[in-house]
């Protein structure tokens, strides 16, 4: 394993080989890494992980320069490889509870070998003479007998399917009730109007939410979020009608509202 001190393999762009930046063809970062490793034209056991990291980073850099939309997993792998590269190049040893760069590199090499070996045997498996294609069963199974024994044919898959079908069929019944307990804008409007009369000045929007909503929001509950959305929508309606003022001092900051002052005539 030559993880350090190896001459970096030429970058894809320099090889002249038509290694077009086309992530579409790859099944994820590992697949891409394996393809890049094969370009080094050595046994995977001898692959230079450092060179591989450079190749990958160059590939990703090229893809971003071409404004290709790279899936997040490719970028995560790029970040990880950059980290690995620094580990391999830095002289100082890592903290005792962290694996060394060599260990990480070996692990990556192992993963590539495992995937490549797996693909090789998968191909060998697929190339075997297969029943119904190259090898055949008795074409005319004979019913020689005269007595009939009924054999029920049912596989675990049938059982699972039956239960799954049952579950799928059950669910719409629950569906009917679900939406009804979400707060509506109309309800929020009514609540705001009621509470607004008792509010002399500025107050935070959250003060107008029904009890329990704030806790629900902290837990990310959908019902609470719907209530918040409905209340905000209702407040906008009141602003439109000139009955309410809204204020927010900074993005994502608290929203305050206050009753609008009585109309001071139509001066203007």
């Amino acid at each position: 394993m030559s993880t350090s001190g190896a001459t970096p393999a030429p970058l894809p762009a320099e090889t002249g080989a038509a290694f077009v930046v086309d992530v579409e063809g790859f099944e994820g970062p590992l697949d891409l890494l394996l393809a890049l490793a094969r370009q080094q034209k050595v046994d995977l056991k001898q692959v230079s992980i450092l060179a591989l990291a450079d190749q990958y980073l160059a590939f990703v850099g090229e893809a971003r320069r071409a404004s290709l939309d790279l899936a997040a997993e490719y970028l995560v792998m790029a970040a990880w490889l950059a980290f690995l590269k620094s580990r391999l190049l830095l002289p100082e040893p890592p903290a005792p509870d962290e694996p060394s760069g060599e260990t990480l590199a070996s692990a990556l090499a192992f993963q590539l070998q495992r995937l490549e070996a797996l693909r090789a045997v998968a191909d060998r498996l697929a190339a075997r003479p297969r029943l119904g294609r190259e090898v055949f069963a008795r074409g005319a199974p004979e019913a020689v007998a005269t007595t009939t024994v009924a054999v029920v044919r049912a596989e675990l898959s049938d059982l699972m399917r039956a239960y799954a079908a049952h579950l799928v069929r059950q669910t719409p019944q629950q569906l009917r009730i679900a939406p009804s307990d979400l707060d509506t804008v109309a309800a929020a409007l009514e609540r705001l109007e009621r509470l607004l009369g008792a509010t002399p000045g500025w107050a935070e929007l959250r003060a107008f939410l029904p009890p329990g909503t704030v806790e629900g929001l902290q837990q990310g509950r959908l019902k609470a979020r719907a209530t918040l959305a409905a209340t905000f929508a209702a407040s906008l309606e009141l602003v439109r009608d000139g009955r309410l003022r809204l204020s927010q001092s900074r993005p994502f900051g608290p929203i305050h509202l206050a009753p609008a002052p009585p109309a001071a005539g139509d001066a203007g």
Partner: protein
């Protein structure tokens, strides 16, 4: 006996074995390599199989492998009619497996339909379910559970090997995913509401 090409013989043997219908000599000669002596091949096979458990028989101008007629009496037990379990029976079995012990009334409640008389009988006759005590409610109805034969048939070492709902989902069997999940509580990956951050 004429010197028949062994490859022709083997190929004819395989073709006749795999064919669902008797094969006419003409069709057979079309499938054998050019110049094969079909009549000789068939004669050879006929002779080779004369005293075996399977014979090559002529049916009109076609040939086919058939079980030796003298064995018919010995093979009587094996006629098996493969029958598929009805949907109702399969679903009932699944519900007993997943909800056991469970009473007839509970099965009907879960499935939302009346259970016809034969369904439990069928499963019982197959040896896949058995009564397992009575429920301590009025009427003391019998509860049903699955048997060891059930586990054997479906290749399960124990009931805890029954794939769970998550596994059904993972296998794509619950693809008609209920919209109810959209309304589920506590979705992960939620950003905090703006209210939580702003409050001093």
């Amino acid at each position: 006996m004429s010197p028949v090409d062994p490859l022709h013989c083997r190929l004819a043997e395989a073709i006749l074995f795999a064919s669902a219908e008797p094969v006419s000599l003409k069709a057979l000669s079309q499938r054998l390599p050019e110049g094969a002596d079909v009549a000789a091949v068939v004669s050879d096979l006929e002779a080779a199989y004369r005293d075996r458990g399977v014979n090559l028989v002529r049916i009109g101008d076609a040939v086919a492998f058939r079980t030796a007629s003298d064995l018919a009496a010995l093979m009587t037990e094996e006629k098996q009619v493969q029958r598929r379990l009805s949907r109702a029976a399969l679903e009932t079995l699944a519900i007993i497996a997943y909800h056991q012990p469970v009473t007839r009334a509970e099965i009907e409640t879960i499935r939302g339909v009346h259970l016809s008389r034969g369904t439990l009988d069928t499963l019982f006759d197959l040896g896949w379910i058995r009564p397992k005590g009575r429920r301590a409610v009025p009427g003391r109805p019998v509860t049903w559970a699955t048997t060891t034969a059930f586990l054997d048939h479906f290749g399960l070492a124990g009931l805890d090997e029954l794939p769970g709902v998550d596994d059904l989902k993972a296998a794509g069997l619950l693809d008609a995913r209920p919209a109810i999940q959209v309304y589920g509580e506590g979705r992960e990956g939620d950003e905090d509401g703006c209210l939580d951050q702003g409050s001093p």
